[in-house]
């Protein structure tokens, strides 16, 4: 017993010692001159080599903190215990944070090279005139199929997923907005529908495919698809690009009749303090060379057209991740809906998940 206690104490001591040391290290690196930039980002969502390059070039030390959901980041910014200078919310969260006065408008005078961004990705409804945000990466919602089981070209549209021959074959992303949105688009309706009868109709349509659904899961889809566990999945392009990198049999399709167009955006939250560093970083990331390097590392589609031109042709012209004009025109951006409507989406989605024939 005594021995065990000693060991436990020893482990605790070592841990506290290490934590204190690392804390001190971090503090001395940053706080010496106040030349820091606190970036809150999604995990593995920036090329570490770029961060090093920026630090060398500008002399600012970058502290990267990660979050794993928009909501978690929102709560942290709202409660104000953090000192984030920049953060990367998705489009609906930009709208919500702006509404809740949690964002500081961008000073366009201090930004260079805004012309690098393509017109498809600017001035969207979630942030008219890009008052608060610059697009960081963008993507779509689509269908991933495995050519071992599915003939290429046989699943190009949402309605193909309703085909009875795909019984028990489809994995869906566990996200009310996306799956309800898929039902809505397949009915030819807007993904931002708010009226109850249309939503009910979309849910009824989804129920009809319930027999084809193998599972409704989240991040695990990646692992399952890489292991050839299911022939079909509905997921985001970002996840898809990671799956495709692991399994050569996987392909990604964005249905041309419409889908979701999502954005992750750089914004300045209310907690920001180091404005010189912020604008230095925003301009650094807008530079085509850097944006291209980042896009190649992360594997998502860049909204920076000048950067896209610098990417290898195999990435630049990949129709899976940079869809053609017609498809692009049909893509819809999510708007931040009223909480009661969001509740309706969620309730219907829950009912759909429980539906079995």
């Amino acid at each position: 017993m005594k021995k065990i206690l000693t060991y436990i104490l020893l482990i605790l001591l070592v841990c506290t010692g290490l934590a204190a040391a690392s804390h001190k290290l971090a503090a001395t690196q940053g706080a010496t001159s106040g030349k820091v930039l606190n970036l809150a980002n999604w995990g593995d969502y920036i090329d570490p080599a770029l961060v090093k390059k920026f630090e060398k070039q500008s002399g600012y030390h970058v502290n990267v903190e990660t979050f794993d959901s928009n909501e978690a980041m929102y709560t942290k910014v709202k409660q104000g215990g953090t000192s984030y200078d920049l953060t990367v919310p998705s489009e609906y969260m930009v709208q919500k944070m702006a509404q809740d006065k949690l964002l500081i408008p961008l000073d366009k005078q201090r930004l260079h090279g805004l012309g690098n961004y393509g017109h498809y990705y600017m001035n969207k409804t979630f942030d008219p005139g890009n008052k608060y945000s610059l697009p960081y990466f963008w993507g779509t919602l689509g269908i991933i199929y495995n050519d071992k089981f599915i003939k290429p070209g046989s699943v190009d549209h949402w309605d193909d997923l309703w085909n009875p021959k795909y019984k028990d074959s489809i994995m869906l992303i566990d996200s009310a907005r996306d799956i309800m949105g898929m039902g809505l688009v397949s009915l030819g309706k807007s993904m931002n529908t708010t009226d109850a009868p249309t939503l009910d109709a979309a849910k009824a349509k989804l129920d009809a495919m319930s027999g084809n659904v193998k599972a409704v899961v989240a991040d695990e889809i990646k692992m399952y698809m890489e292991n050839n566990e299911a022939p079909l999945a509905v997921d985001w392009s970002g996840e898809a690009s990671e799956m495709l990198a692991e399994n050569k049999h996987l392909h990604y399709v964005v249905p041309s009749e419409g889908s979701n167009l999502w954005f992750d955006n750089l914004v300045i939250p209310r907690t920001a303090k180091h404005f010189d560093a912020i604008y230095a970083f925003l301009n650094f990331m807008t530079e085509p060379k850097n944006a291209a390097q980042n896009a190649e590392y992360v594997g998502y589609a860049t909204p920076n057209d000048a950067a896209r031109k610098m990417l290898p042709a195999s990435i630049r012209n990949d129709r899976q991740f940079y869809p053609n004009e017609t498809t692009m025109k049909h893509l819809q951006v999510y708007e931040n809906l009223d909480p009661t409507v969001v509740g309706k989406y969620n309730d219907l989605f829950l009912e759909f998940k429980m539906f079995k024939h």
Binding site: D174, V216, V217, A218, N227, E229, P339, N346, L350
Partner: protein
């Protein structure tokens, strides 16, 4: 003096109870009276008891928990019984407890590997010429994994109950002409019933609110109240509704504790004496 020390001993326990048992429960009850716009309302309860969705979900949760408990009990009782007559029972017991030291998530991921289309089990079936079967995301897989995880919690109390059993009573029953089966039904089983009851409590109650396994192994094709709570707190952000389900679960658990609890047992015993 001594009395003072005794009361002092209760202080940490009392504080613990207050802070981590009573306060959270009150908070959950409090939360359950608010809608998504933070207005006071009873609508959450109305929704719960009127909507087919939640009632089906409740029924499903109770049903799955019941099946899981029965399966674990059927495996655990004989196991505990055999364990009692083993030579190195402490060692065997340790081997049964050992899996509980491993993180639940790791075990769930291991089962994904076993049940997968290219997994161990399907490969094994392949040797006999059986085509790959869909094993993951089925009710059977869900119940199997849940039972696997709960088994140690069922075996332990039953094992303790059997250990306490006076061997003399079993021998006496056999001497007086009862068959092994009769001895088991009329002597061993009733005397180990308290172990079975605490085992059932230890398994049934957590099974009601399983959520990680419903997603990983059940692929969210099995939706229990636990899944719904997770969903309401993490994705829907409808804490009121999530808390309401929580309150319903807490009440259900109290009812089950009451039904399988000690008090009930004593009453039954008393009745027998009179007869």
């Amino acid at each position: 003096m001594r009395k003072k020390v005794n009361t002092a001993f209760y202080v940490p326990y009392g504080l613990w109870l207050l802070l981590f048992v009573i306060a959270p429960m009150l908070l959950i009850v409090y939360q359950s009276f608010f809608n998504i716009n933070h207005q006071f309302t009873l609508a959450n309860y109305a929704t719960y008891f009127q909507s087919g969705t939640y009632l089906t979900m409740t029924f499903n949760s109770v049903w799955y928990a019941f099946v899981i408990t029965v399966v674990t009990l059927l495996i655990s009782y004989p196991a505990a019984y055999i364990l009692h007559y083993m030579k190195h029972k402490q060692l065997w017991l340790l081997l049964i407890i050992l899996p509980t030291w491993i993180n639940l998530l790791l075990k769930a991921y291991a089962f994904i590997g076993i049940f997968g289309r290219d997994g161990g089990l399907n490969n094994f079936l392949g040797w006999f010429g059986i085509a790959p079967k869909q094993l993951l995301f089925t009710d059977a897989a869900f119940i199997f994994v849940a039972a696997y995880i709960e088994i140690p919690f069922m075996i332990l109390p039953i094992f303790n109950g059997i250990e306490e059993l006076d061997e003399g009573l079993v021998n006496a029953s056999r001497d007086l002409g009862a068959s092994p089966w009769q001895t088991f039904i009329h002597v061993t089983l009733p005397l180990t019933m308290s172990g079975v009851k605490s085992g059932v409590q230890a398994v049934f109650i957590p099974s009601l609110s399983l959520f990680m396994i419903t997603r990983l192994i059940g692929g969210n094709r099995v939706i229990t109240l636990g899944t719904a709570i997770e969903e309401h707190f993490l994705t829907t952000m409808n804490w009121g509704m999530g808390s309401t389900i929580g309150v319903v679960l807490i009440v259900t658990m109290f009812v089950i504790m009451f039904l399988t609890g000690e008090r009930n047992k004593r009453r039954v015993k008393g009745g027998k004496h009179h007869a």
